[in-house]
């Protein structure tokens, strides 16, 4: 029992780190832009597909990771310029509607382009180590570390680069940021591209664990929403903590119930959060 518990702990942390990677992109986009990105899961899914294609063409997993990140970041920038920039200054609810439309388009495009059969991304290496009675793949630990590294990279970028300072300034006071000469519209496009690229990277990293199909984004976007709400919307550290917390509880729950039911546990976490701190969890509604 203890062994299983430890195994689930490791599983929970691994999945939690990927979730954190997805959710921090979502948090970044929400916290800075007031955009609730319904299409985030689809960017995750498209990243995985671009990874599949690049991997098939080049045979290099790491190149696939890089290409997927860049291609989807560029797609994110294009989506932002064409559909979200016109909504600047309108009620944030409009962004949910538009990104919902985008998710429909992207999901159906993927279904049409790649078909309903799941694709496989091979792990870049297949080594195992002994974890009690299990042969635990090294790759899983590498994913967790890579996700952590990407998030750390984001943090350093936000903390030290000029763009990072601009982004944080814009989060706090968009109007004043503009008056300081910060090119806010361009900055928002860059932020959306970064968040999209992060979603794509998580898609490629996670691909080897589950297989790639057109609907894989849905579960993730829902979980990421829960994480973002539980962690406090727009709060990066909060959503990382919430990602790990929620993945761990789901992992432990799967000791007793089937994995598909384990997600109910995160729903319950969400409801409890809403009950105990119905408003305190959120940054004040931006108005």
């Amino acid at each position: 029992m203890l062994e299983e518990f430890l195994i689930q702990t490791i599983n929970g942390i691994v999945v939690g780190m990927i979730l954190a990677l997805v959710a921090s992109g979502l948090t970044l986009i929400f916290g800075i832009m007031d955009v609730v990105n319904f299409a985030h899961g689809e960017l995750f899914m498209l990243g995985a597909y671009v990874g599949v294609v690049t991997l098939a063409g080049t045979g290099s997993f790491w190149l696939a990771l890089l290409v997927a990140t860049l291609v989807v970041a560029a797609l994110g920038a294009a989506i932002h310029v064409t559909t979200l920039r016109p909504l600047l200054g309108r009620d944030p609810l409009n962004t949910i509607l538009v990104t919902f439309g985008i998710s429909l388009v992207l999901q159906n495009y993927a279904l049409w382009q790649f078909g309903p059969v799941a694709r496989k991304i091979n792990e870049p290496f297949t080594g195992h180590f002994n974890l009690f009675y299990l042969e635990y793949p090294w790759y899983r630990l590498v994913i967790a570390l890579l996700s952590a590294a990407i998030i750390a990279g984001l943090w350093l970028f936000l903390k030290y680069s000029t763009y990072g300072v601009w982004i944080r300034a814009t989060t706090q006071d968009r109007l004043m940021a503009q008056a300081m000469g910060i090119p806010v519209p361009r900055l928002l496009t860059i932020v959306f591209a970064i968040g999209s690229g992060m979603a794509a990277a998580s898609g490629v990293l996670f691909g080897p664990l589950v297989g790639v199909n057109h609907a894989m984004g849905l579960d993730w976007v829902l979980k990421a929403f829960i994480v973002v709400v539980v962690g406090g919307m727009g709060n990066l550290v909060g959503s990382i903590a919430a990602s790990i917390f929620i993945s761990l509880t789901e992992s432990y729950a799967s000791l007793w119930v089937s994995p598909s039911q384990a997600i109910i546990v995160s729903f319950v976490v969400l409801i409890l959060t809403l009950l105990i701190r119905p408003t305190g969890l959120f940054v004040p509604t931006p108005k």
Binding site: L97, G101, I102, L104, N108, F267, L274
Partner: protein, 335 residues
């Protein structure tokens, strides 16, 4: 509303209703069923207009109410002999109202996008429960049952035909429209609209805003459940797909396409969406066949998903016509 405008409204209402009553006579079977579907989805859209258009809350969780209406009806039709239409309605409404009360209690504590996300996640809770609780719900396969007769015990009993089912649905939807219209014009509806305009002020005047919101969500959920019951009766099954949040998203799309805050707009939006979907899903295979007749092989064209152009149209409407088709048409007419 002035007396003259009231008269014009009721005249238009009577004309449109009369047209809707006779419309199926000129239509083949397929389109009769199609018309019935439009009315049912229109009712779902209209129910969420109470929140979107009148209270300023966007629900992404109406699939839960709709789906529970379906499963409630299924429960009644599978457990009682002979299957009764009225029990199906009763069970469906009770199921939807219970879920609506539950969701309303939690979600109305939050505003704006937080409300939208919370309703979305709640609907997914019910989706997962229904999907995994195979013993009771049939899981992924859902539940199939036979259609009840239109009957009043001791008086008469008529099996539904496509035509009579259409009229029955039309009657229910028309009745719902009148009730919802009444609600939106009642003092209660006025408070909802004042919440939409300025929540803080409404609270300051002394209205218990949260309680009003809870009741609004419950009303809305009740009518969404009614739509679910009708859908179950028409299609003789209940399936988890209809609890999935994509259905909620479509309800929002109907609202935005048609124009929120009008009750009629969402029905127009549903009609436009479903017609476009039907047209586009036929267009691409047709184009492919035309192309192949001219010796052009365009692989994939026949299977091109209609949801791509539909999604793009929806995005364009959000960006360029924030008042929806009805609002757009109205402005054009006024110019």
């Amino acid at each position: 509303m002035t007396a003259r405008r009231t008269r014009i409204f009721w005249m238009a209402f009577a004309v449109i209703l009369a047209l809707l009553i006779v419309m199926p006579f000129g239509l083949p079977e397929f389109w009769r069923r199609f018309l019935t579907e439009i009315l049912i989805w229109g009712l779902l859209a209209m129910s969420s207009d109470i929140l979107i258009g009148y209270t300023g809350m966007v629900s992404f969780g109406h699939s839960a109410f709709f789906g529970l209406g379906m499963y409630g009806a299924a429960a009644a039709l599978l457990t009682t002999r002979p299957p009764s239409l009225w029990l199906a309605l009763l069970y469906g409404l009770i199921a939807a109202a219970t879920v609506a009360a539950f969701v309303a209690y939690f979600s109305t504590r939050l505003r704006d996008i937080y409300f939208a996300i919370t309703t979305l996640i709640f609907s997914q809770i019910f989706y997962v429960i229904i999907f995994t609780w195979t013993d009771a719900t049939g899981g992924e396969n859902g539940l199939a049952f036979s259609r009840p007769a239109l009957a009043i015990p001791g008086l008469f009993s008529l099996p539904f035909t496509t035509l009579t089912l259409y009229w029955f649905v039309l009657a229910v939807v028309t009745g719902s429209y009148l009730v919802l219209r009444r609600i939106t014009r009642s003092p209660f509806g006025m408070v909802l609209q004042s919440i939409r305009e300025n929540e803080a002020r409404t609270r300051a005047i002394g209205y218990p805003v949260e309680r009003y919101k809870i009741v609004a969500v419950m009303f809305s959920g009740l009518f969404a459940g009614l739509a679910g019951v009708l859908y179950a009766i028409q299609n003789r099954f209940a399936a988890p797909d209809f609890v999935f949040f994509v259905v909620s998203g479509e309800a929002v799309i109907y609202n935005i396409m048609g124009g929120v805050g009008t009750l009629v707009g969402p029905i127009v939006g549903a009609a436009a969406f479903l017609l476009l979907r039907e047209g586009l899903s036929r267009l691409f295979p047709y184009l492919a066949s035309v192309a192949s007749q001219h010796g052009l092989a365009l692989p994939g064209l026949a299977e091109f998903p209609y949801l791509i152009p539909l999604g793009i149209i929806f995005i364009a409407i959000v960006i360029f016509m924030p008042q929806g088709l009805l609002g757009f048409a109205r402005r054009r007419l006024n110019e």
